[in-house]
């Protein structure tokens, strides 16, 4: 049989056992965590607010396993799959599954559960078992399939009695008050019991509330923001790579959709450098690209410099234009500040923009454009670009999913930005503040948290 082994995972069972500390971890304790995002229900929705998306990803990665995960160096490591190989045409991938994995509900994790999870998340895949292995097939070659399987959307879960996620990860969902509070309890999984006994998550907390609670010792782990000064209490700050895209996205069904030059003038007028240094407090990077440089390696090809002369030149080619509305989430102070700054920049080239809050505002039900914050979920350039298709309403980006050529991915991104329906502004990192008792904190460059290996020093 003529197939090649593309990647063979090193070893069975616990070969991927994580590195341990010079100070060995302590078992026990409860971590109190606060987040802006909130989970109201456990069905995975297509498009989420970036904050809700982040929380959903952190919880999913703690509760459910994936076939493989991605290491910080970009290599793919075994989890529920212990080895894998592909046929020569890269359309068929075979995975040997880890035996004797138990779910948090006491049932064994069967191949049927894995098939159902993957098929639901990837409608174009054909997933089945063959000769004791899991077989994933696709009509088109998928050279980066292991990297795709490492995305959190490919988590393997079933629904529990209350609809909650049930998986084989290090934590199981305990008490849950929709949109407000969630408890994750330690589970003796195949990869070993986590060090913490439980994690209590207070959801939907503003950054100011989080900072206050941290200051008062009511939380050990909170989110940090470029727009807030760090609290005075002794703490550690940890950030991911810039992995959230901030952009202006125009609606396709409005008058501006017919005026690419108007959008080009707005794009050229943007002073990203000021937004970066003032509003983002120099966190992240200004960018005119969809993918950040650390993922694509080519973001510098998209010029992010303000060019007022050219913007005025383009604007002058048009007659009068109506005032445009730019929507933003009223609960997001950063989005509001950026919308206001975009309006100020546009005014310099004689384009009037009115920022308006869009939640519960009937007048703003259909603004000409909106400020969008999208969490990029994969460090794999093709998968990352494709994941932006839905939130940015740019279906052409999906064709990047199975590509691994930087050249080809660049061409897709470049084409998607040609009509200025999407104007990227910046990429910002996820940032956290940790109490001094929290140890072995790990955040992947793309923002994924490893809460299973986190431990807390006992209170003195």
């Amino acid at each position: 049989m003529k197939f090649i082994c593309l990647l063979l995972a090193a070893a069975l069972s616990l070969a991927a056992a994580p590195l341990r500390a010079a100070t060995r971890p302590h078992y026990g304790g409860t971590l109190r965590m606060e987040t802006r995002g909130a989970i109201a229900s456990f069905g995975r929705s297509k498009v989420l607010d970036a904050d809700d998306q982040a929380l959903e990803d952190w919880v999913l990665s703690s509760v459910c396993d994936r076939l493989v995960i991605m290491a910080d160096d970009g290599s793919v490591r075994p989890r529920l799959a212990i080895s894998w190989r592909s046929d020569l045409d890269l359309r068929s991938w075979h995975f040997a599954l880890r035996p004797n994995v138990m779910l948090q509900n006491g049932n064994p994790l069967s191949p049927a559960i894995i098939i159902a999870s993957l098929a639901a998340a990837n409608p174009t895949w054909h997933v089945r078992t063959e000769a004791g292995e899991l077989l994933i097939q696709s009509d088109a070659p998928i050279p980066n399939l292991p990297a795709q399987l490492a995305e959190i959307r490919n988590s393997v879960c079933v629904s529990g009695d209350g609809g909650q996620w049930v998986g084989s990860g290090p934590f199981q969902i305990g008490e849950f008050q929709p949109g407000q509070r969630m408890e994750l309890r330690a589970f003796d999984s195949w990869s070993g019991r986590p060090f913490l006994d439980r994690i209590r998550i207070e959801m939907g907390k503003s950054l100011a509330e989080q900072a206050t609670d941290f200051q008062l010792g009511r939380a050990e782990l909170i989110e940090n923001s470029p727009t807030l000064a760090p609290p005075q209490r002794l703490s550690k700050i940890s950030t991911s790579q810039p992995m959230e895209l901030l952009a202006v996205v125009f609606a396709a069904n409005t008058e501006t959709a017919m005026r690419p030059r108007l959008r080009q003038a707005i794009a050229l007028s943007l002073d990203r450098a000021s937004i970066y240094s003032v509003l983002l407090r120099r966190q992240g990077e200004p960018s005119a690209a969809l993918l950040p440089e650390w993922i694509s390696g080519y973001a510098h090809l998209f010029s992010s410099a303000q060019d007022l002369a050219r913007a005025r030149q383009v604007r002058a080619q048009m007659g009068s234009v109506p005032t445009l509305t730019l929507g933003y989430d009223p609960g997001d102070t950063l989005a509001k500040s950026i919308a206001e700054r975009v309006a100020v920049n546009a005014r310099e080239v004689n384009v009037a923009i009115q920022p308006i809050p869009i939640a519960n505002n009937p007048r703003a039900a259909n603004p000409d454009a909106r400020i969008v914050r999208v969490r990029i979920e994969s460090p794999d350039p093709g998968a990352a670009l494709a994941s932006l298709a839905s939130p940015l309403n740019a279906s052409t980006l999906t064709s990047a999913l199975s590509l691994n050529s930087a050249d080809a991915i660049y061409r897709i991104e470049n084409n998607a930005l040609q009509d200025f329906l999407i104007i990227p502004i910046a990429h910002i990192p996820e940032a956290f503040m940790l109490g001094p008792m929290v140890h072995d904190w790990e955040i992947a460059p793309w923002g994924e948290l490893n809460l299973g290996d986190l431990w807390m020093e006992p209170a003195p």
């Binding site: 616990l14 302590h26 650390w294 390696g297 090809l301």
Partner: protein, 397 residues
């Protein structure tokens, strides 16, 4: 002409050096980019500018630029020293993403702009050491891509034909010292799984007729006489705290520490606080307790607590000038580099006797070998590889 030949020779040697240093085929990547540039725009007069946005060193960038210029010229481009009207501009940026180098070229002539990209795989690199007072020296024995839990020298020395045994979560690996280097000559799977744990620990130590390997809930015995043989059984037997086996202790299989029950050389049992590791001294022992303190237990004296933030791994080391040195790792998290320092032990304190010997990653296991004068450290390097070091102390500065 001579200058040109010399420049070419220098260029070739630089490229060979840079390529060897990085394990990369930069010349082919440069040639590939030049070909893409030529197909994106008709070759002609051009000004080439190369900027480095990556962690590539300056000498490497110089060689890449030379290679690229050479390939462009071979493709028909006439490169000028400065930009000029009617001249194309080729702006090359040597960038990188999180897994590879990405080189981009923007070719501009009048109103025409074309872009070309190539990607090049990227590897990783490492670092060194020093000492003082008592000089703690380290020598690297083996490097493994598999997680290593512990290792031991069967004959207690590094000579031709000597054996080194390394314990992984699934196997025992046998190395033999041949022609100046350790060669992996045999691997024997454990066949029986140990209990799952997130902080996997194990111990392998020579015995009278072979060796013993201990993993959480598992005890294996083996020999190397006629090849590596191994028998494992579920067990909660006590583990030796050092290779000379004077002190044993019971390991908590579902945690990552010893539960505090120790067994002495005459079979006498003692119950102390749970601990991560121990330095077995000529008389008594010091324990790295799970509360971060070091507890010293010596016959005839009450137990002493040396408070402070100590690392979890300690071991004893004897030297001709200072007996009973205690090697201690740093107390950093595993995301930070680690270090081992030799301390003199008094009844109430540990005083540094050596400079810290740094390691790029956390020390996973530290133990004294059977002769008491050598210790072995297993280090998880940031590159994901596991390294086994032999530590010895010598006197003087």
């Amino acid at each position: 002409m001579l200058r040109l030949v010399l420049r070419c020779l220098l260029m070739i040697s630089c490229v060979v050096f840079a390529g060897a240093a990085y394990g990369q085929d930069f010349p082919s990547a440069a040639t590939q980019l030049a070909a893409k540039i030529s197909s994106a725009m008709q070759p002609g007069d051009a000004f080439l500018n190369v900027e480095n946005r990556s962690l590539l060193s300056n000498p490497t960038v110089v060689t890449i630029r030379a290679e690229l210029a050479s390939a462009l010229q071979a493709g028909g481009w006439k490169l000028s020293e400065a930009p000029g009207s009617g001249t194309a501009s080729i702006a090359v940026e040597l960038s990188e993403n999180f897994s590879q180098y990405v080189w981009t070229a923007t070719v501009t002539k009048a109103d025409t702009r074309a872009v070309a990209l190539v990607q090049v795989p990227r590897p990783v690199a490492g670092q060194g050491e020093r000492g003082n007072d008592v000089v703690l020296t380290r020598s690297l024995l083996i490097v493994s891509g598999e997680p290593l839990l512990d290792a031991t020298l069967l004959e207690g020395k590094v000579v031709d034909g000597a054996h080194l045994l390394a314990l992984t979560p699934q196997s025992v690996e046998l190395y033999q010292f041949q022609s100046g280097q350790w060669r992996n000559v045999q691997s024997q799977p454990l066949q029986t799984s140990s209990l799952p744990t997130r902080d996997f620990r194990g111990r392998i130590a020579p015995s009278a007729d072979g060796f013993d390997a201990f993993l959480p809930g598992l005890h294996c015995t083996g020999t190397v006489a006629a090849g590596l043989s191994l028998t494992c059984r579920p067990s909660d037997d006590s583990w030796p705290l050092s290779d000379e086996r004077r002190l044993l202790a019971f390991y908590s299989a579902n945690r990552n520490y010893f539960n505090g029950v120790t067994v002495g050389p005459k079979g006498e049992s003692e119950n102390i606080e749970p601990f991560y590791s121990a330095a077995v001294l000529s008389s008594g022992a010091a324990y790295a307790a799970i509360d971060g303190h070091i507890r010293v237990d010596q016959p005839g004296n009450p137990q002493q607590i040396i408070s402070g933030k100590w690392g979890s791994n300690i071991a004893a080391l004897q030297s001709s000038c200072r007996p009973d040195l205690v090697l201690v790792t740093s107390s950093a998290d595993f995301t930070a580099p680690d270090a081992v320092t030799a301390y003199r032990l008094s009844s109430t304190e540990l005083t540094p006797a050596s400079d810290a010997v740094p390691f790029a990653g956390p020390v996973m296991s530290l133990k004294t070998l059977a002769d008491g004068q050598q210790a072995m450290a297993v280090v998880a390097s940031p590159s994901g590889r596991y390294e086994v070091y032999l530590l010895t102390a010598r006197c003087g500065s």
